[in-house]
């Protein structure tokens, strides 16, 4: 439904161009999937629409966070928008798990209570239980000597996709009581490929003379931020801290990204990004925002042979309905093929409907310990509220 709303935006512009576009009413789109609202005892609540897509599998829509006195939207839509797997011997064609194999529809495994301990199962449109939601309490939130102590909970949502007969992926989103959002992908299944050891790729991990072949997986996360009431006035800001010549001081700088662009992680400058709203503030008058905390830097630039979209870690684009996947996007109706092409025309993104794409790298190194059932391995990152509230609401 959000696509529909956005598709008619140009129409709205025509209809109300004499008034402030951003004041146009933005009715919450109806949820075609499972509408879920979870309340913690603190009064903090998350609400969302859990939708299922044939390609992407689990899709999160209209994610809103209620703190003590107000509900605010964070994301209009978020999902894994590509999972490209390349084996170390590069002998088989690239596998686009989202756009070609698909992680949704019949790829979604039916879940039972055993898969979802102490949780709740939700059905797809055919009545098959494919989504698990559950909460976990008792995690340390803060402690200050003997004066202050609090625990908090998180709520998690996951679905499991059998992308090929051997490769299983779990898409898991955790929503913490303190406002942190943690998307994660779990890799499991059986070791997917072996080849003759003498070819020199991969590693021998059992008593055969076959080598298990390692692989790189490139995750393209699509985060359509729609902070607050209006989806059309979000701002991307880059934060850097430059060391002084002596390296004893650091100097913080913020820069608003004006045009569609790509960016890279840079530990030297501690580069990070936040998405802030064009007009909404917390009780102290600070602009509300969410910061992106990437992870897995140590595997972030591995061998992007002939895959230019992997060159950068982050892409910032202006919302376009047809730009759905990080790579291998359908090019019908002149739509661009991948994130690198999405940013080519450098459209203005300041106070726009922003979409952030995070390319995350993962490399799997085979070992006997995963023979021949792999231990589920997770790769995740976080979205952390920055000045969303004027103080810690907990």
């Amino acid at each position: 439904m959000i696509f529909l709303t956005k598709k008619f935006l140009p129409l709205l512009i025509v209809l109300c161009c004499s008034t402030n576009l951003y004041a146009a009413p933005n009715p919450s789109p109806a949820c075609n999937g499972n509408a879920i609202k979870t309340h913690f005892s603190s009064g903090i609540a998350w609400s969302m629409c859990l939708d299922l897509d044939r390609q992407a599998g689990l899709v999160l829509k209209q994610l809103k966070l209620t703190t003590l006195h107000s509900e605010r939207r964070v994301l209009g839509q978020a999902n894994l928008a590509q999972l490209e797997t390349v084996f170390d011997d590069n002998k088989s064609p690239s596998a686009f798990m989202v756009t070609r194999e698909g992680l949704g529809a019949d790829k979604l495994l039916s879940l039972t209570d055993k898969d979802c301990p102490n949780g709740q199962l939700y059905p797809d449109s055919n009545g098959r239980n494919v989504i698990c939601t559950r909460s976990q309490a008792g995690e340390l939130l803060y402690k200050y000597a003997y004066q202050a102590y609090r625990q908090a909970s998180f709520f998690e949502v996951f679905s499991i996709s059998q992308a090929t007969s051997l490769q299983t992926y779990t898409q898991r989103w955790r929503f913490y009581e303190n406002g942190i959002i943690e998307p994660a992908l779990g890799f499991s299944g059986k070791l997917p490929r072996f080849s003759e050891a003498h070819l020199g790729f991969g590693r021998v991990i059992n008593e055969s003379n076959q080598s298990a072949i390692g692989f790189s997986s490139y995750l393209g996360w699509r985060l359509d931020f729609d902070l607050g009431r209006s989806p059309n006035n979000d701002i991307a800001e880059e934060i850097t801290s430059t060391p002084s010549q002596s390296r004893r001081h650091k100097s913080l700088k913020t820069e608003i990204l004006q045009q569609e662009t790509s960016r890279n992680l840079n530990p030297e400058l501690k580069t990070s990004w936040r998405i802030k709203d064009g007009d909404e503030t917390n009780d102290s008058g600070q602009t509300i925002s969410y910061e992106i905390i990437p992870s897995n830097y140590y595997q972030s630039l591995g061998g992007f042979r002939g895959r230019p979209w992997l060159k950068s870690d982050m892409y910032f684009t202006r919302y376009k309905a047809c730009e759905q996947y990080a790579s291998d996007n359908k090019t019908t109706n002149n739509c661009a093929r991948n994130v690198l092409q999405y940013i080519e025309n450098k459209e203005n993104i300041d106070k726009s409907d922003l979409v952030v794409w995070y390319k995350q790298g993962y490399h799997y190194l085979p070992r006997s310990d995963d023979s021949d059932y792999m231990s589920t391995d997770w790769v995740s990152f976080q979205l952390v509220p920055r000045d969303w509230t004027a103080h810690n609401p907990l």
Binding site: F201, R203, S241, P267, Q299, D369
Partner: protein, 379 residues
């Protein structure tokens, strides 16, 4: 599990310490961990004689000793550069007493009458899955809490039923340093006229590996993935002399500690991989803090080299990691010093109480087993 012909000359935990200092936990789906703990003024809680028995396997020593060996906290305005472990100490009065509420479904372990360690067995979600077949995994979790100034640090040690070990430190409490004003290049406004000063937490662990109970035959290998024959080949390079090394996102570099004698059924040396998965905020400080230069250090084991920086007794021992690495051979016992950094730009949510932030590293079995030990449930 591992070769039966190998005769261990080590002592496992229950012989290395008295019952009061022994932790022996069998996890619900298999896997058993035995270890000893001890208290010291500076490190707080240290662990030694850490051994793991895989499901249906025999007990094998992994670490002779392991501890958090520095928390270095330089502020962006250069107004303070703390060395919290060596200069303040995580033990004694700074080690906070815990209560039952802080240790849900767990067990409190006391030192000198004060409960200081929380021991829990926690679910860790799916352990493995193959189509419809799967099993849930569990882990032994141990944590303590030390108060240094306004910060409360939570060193946490998690031992999984598949042999993985996760070491992390939570930072909570309250912000330590502020300036006034509405704007600053060295911090972030967290309330009207109040700026929290940005800072780093550089965490260093000291890990004395003794795989299979003998540290003298352990070897460090660096693994890089390099382009070759149109694909990516796995290149192994032994590190024979003391060295500091960095992550390399281009070659997806990683390190393993291997045992020269003991091999698994695939004829591979048993090993543990050291993953620095949170290296994205790695920081190199000023010249006088050369111990911050690298992400991981490998040194010859010396009893007096205890802390990553501000090492005591500098008259007879080197002062920090930068001087521990002086090209000595790693042929004998090896110490691995993994590090990770959290760069904290304060935010309004950090006051009045600051939510915990976790920083960590991971030790992962690498050809330690012959096959996935937990999957025997579905074979």
């Amino acid at each position: 599990m591992c070769s039966a012909v190998y005769v261990s000359n080590s002592v496992i935990a229950d012989e290395a310490c008295s019952a009061a200092y022994t932790i022996d936990t069998s996890l619900p789906n298999g896997g058993r961990w035995t270890l000893c703990w001890e208290h010291s003024l500076q490190n707080g809680i240290s662990f030694h004689h850490i051994a793991y028995q895989a499901k249906n396997g025999t007990t094998q020593d992994i670490l002779y000793r392991a501890e958090l060996a520095q928390v270095h906290v330089p502020y962006d305005d250069n107004g303070a550069r703390y060395h919290d472990i060596s200069d303040y100490g995580f033990g004694d009065g700074n080690l906070l007493g815990l209560n039952e509420k802080e240790c849900p479904n767990g067990q409190l372990i006391s030192y000198a009458g004060k409960p200081v360690i929380c021991q829990q067995v926690l679910s860790r979600g799916e352990a493995f899955r193959y189509q419809e077949k799967s099993a849930q995994g569990y882990k032994l979790s141990l944590f303590s809490i030390s108060q240094i100034g306004s910060y409360n640090y939570v060193p946490r040690w998690e031992f999984f039923d598949n042999g993985t070990i996760e070491l992390s430190v939570g930072a909570t409490g309250a912000l330590q340093r502020f300036t006034t004003g509405s704007q600053s290049t060295q911090g972030w406004p967290i309330a009207p006229d109040k700026i929290g000063v940005s800072h780093l937490h550089n965490f260093f662990w000291r890990l004395d590996f003794d795989l299979a109970g003998n540290g003298a035959n352990d070897v460090i290998e660096e693994i890089n993935f390099v382009r070759d024959d149109g694909g990516l080949k796995t290149k192994y390079e032994p590190i024979l002399l003391e060295a500091g090394r960095d992550v390399n996102p281009q070659t997806m570099r990683t390190w393993i500690v291997t045992d020269k004698n003991l091999r698994n059924k695939a004829n591979s040396p048993i090993a543990y991989e050291i993953q620095l998965y949170q290296a994205g905020q790695r920081d190199v400080g000023p010249d006088e803090e050369a111990f911050t230069k690298y992400d991981i250090y490998f040194t010859k084991a010396k009893d007096c080299e205890r802390f990553a920086s501000h090492n005591g007794g500098a008259d007879y021992c080197a002062k920090d990691l930068s001087t521990y690495i002086n090209d000595e051979s790693l042929e004998d016992d090896i110490i691995v010093w993994p590090t990770t950094t959290f760069y904290h730009i304060p935010r309004a949510e950090d006051a009045p109480n600051m939510n915990v932030h976790w920083s960590g590293i991971r030790l992962k079995p690498f050809d330690w087993h012959n096959s996935n030990p937990l999957a025997s449930a579905i074979r």
